[in-house]
Amino acid sequence: MLAKRIIPCLDVDAGRVVKGVKFVDIRDAGDPVEVARRYNEEGADEITFLDITASSDDRETIVHVVEQVASEVFIPLTVGGGIRKADDIRRMLNAGADKVAINTAAVFNPEFVKEATERFGSQCIVVAIDAKQVSAEGEPMRWEIFTHGGRKPTGLDAIEWAKRMSDYGAGEILLTSMDRDGTKIGFDNKLTRAIVEAVPIPVIASGGVGNLDHLVDGVKLGGADAVLAASIFHFAEYSIGEAKQFMQGQGVEVRL
């Protein structure tokens, strides 16, 4: 059977890893290539790069980052951030990315996802969903899609949106709970479970990991096919190998 995947995520700004990475044995912790190499050695199942470059002048740098990483790290690579048109996808795939994650552009132009999956194949199109709980306590649970880092509501129901993206051919959903992102209190497993039960495609849980139990919960309670985390790996609180050993000990099938 398939192993549950562990995916470290790197935020990249103008070609540099941001939010800090603290590995004692890395020469330049801001170099995405060095960090990716390290995660690969630790046994990461995939690596996701999120390009948060604001200036359009610097956007080209992520292409070079992907090229360099793809020349020496031989596991699947996903790139998200700033994917707005077919040409952006083509450039990333040509640079060596295996998948691209489409977020805001899907919200503003859902047909873009359909066009992208038809042209490049479902297997390389991930739809990133940023969801926030909007139901009050005691009400049936409801989550909505938010854009702009969780600041702007769209009125779109997260479950309906995930189904639509899956119908449009998305190969995978990268689901981030904006309530949990950065909190280190664990995934929103109810949200993950609701999306997993609504769509036939793999779901990657993201947002809120603070310890290894959270990774296990994402799989066992949330039903996620893969778990994504940033800070617990960046700050070397846990290595990916440790995370996998722990998960296996808790009965989760992983690649060791």
Partner: protein, 213 residues
């Protein structure tokens, strides 16, 4: 001794990763060439035949690039490694796209996964995407130094079912047990992506580069 390893390019999928991974394990002085030129394919020492996408599109691209003969000839005559669609199109018929005739090197069909629920209660999602175990059925040179039941990276919705069961060099379970690798003489073909399978994948490519048929 230097050699030329050719990666067949017929416009189906991104071959950069395959070429980079082969370069990574190739010997010093070895040349890794990405080409659709039948003459260069037939004069090379080894041939890698990757592929991605739908069966009908792959067959159309092979035909548009006039590669049918060169591929079959290479598959008969020199170390040949098929990857993903490069394994599937070696059979004679795929269920994909309402039925597609393939290259027909081997009798057998390419089927769609059944999906459904696995014995452990997990949904078997399609495509079969991620790291699954590859159970080696022989001690083929391409398995050299790869532990039994190692995990490799897969992305596909169809699998090969050759009539000759002795072609299978490995099996993988995903609702059905399918031939995740086939082998005969100078030919080896895998459903998974060695170029994306970390150490196990690189070892397999290294074994291919060093394979003495």
């Amino acid at each position: 001794m230097t050699q030329r390893i050719t990666v067949i390019d017929y416009g189906m999928g991104n071959l950069r990763s395959v070429a980079k991974a082969v370069e990574h394990v190739a010997g010093e002085g070895d040349e890794v060439l990405v080409t659709d030129d039948p003459a260069l394919i037939l004069t090379s020492d080894r041939v890698v035949f990757p592929g991605q996408g739908a069966a009908r599109d792959c067959m159309a691209a092979i035909s548009d690039h006039h590669l049918n003969k060169a591929i079959l000839q290479a598959a008969h005559s020199k170390p040949f490694l098929g990857i993903c669609m490069g394994q599937q199109v070696l059979l004679d018929f795929s269920e994909e796209n309402g039925g597609t005739q393939l290259l027909g090197l081997y009798k057998g069909h390419v089927h769609h996964f059944p999906g459904g629920i696995a014995p452990d209660g997990e949904a078997m999602k399609i495509p079969h995407m991620g790291w699954n175990r590859v159970h080696q059925l022989s001690d083929h040179p391409l398995w050299h130094q790869i532990p039994q039941d190692s995990r490799f990276y897969f992305v596909h919705s169809y699998y090969v079912d050759p009539e000759r069961k002795d072609l299978a060099a490995a099996t993988t379970d995903y609702g059905v047990s399918f031939a995740s690798a086939i082998a005969e003489n100078n030919l080896f073909a895998v459903q998974f992506h060695p170029e994306k399978s970390a150490d196990a994948g690189l070892q397999l490519l290294k074994n291919f580069v060093n394979w003495k048929v």
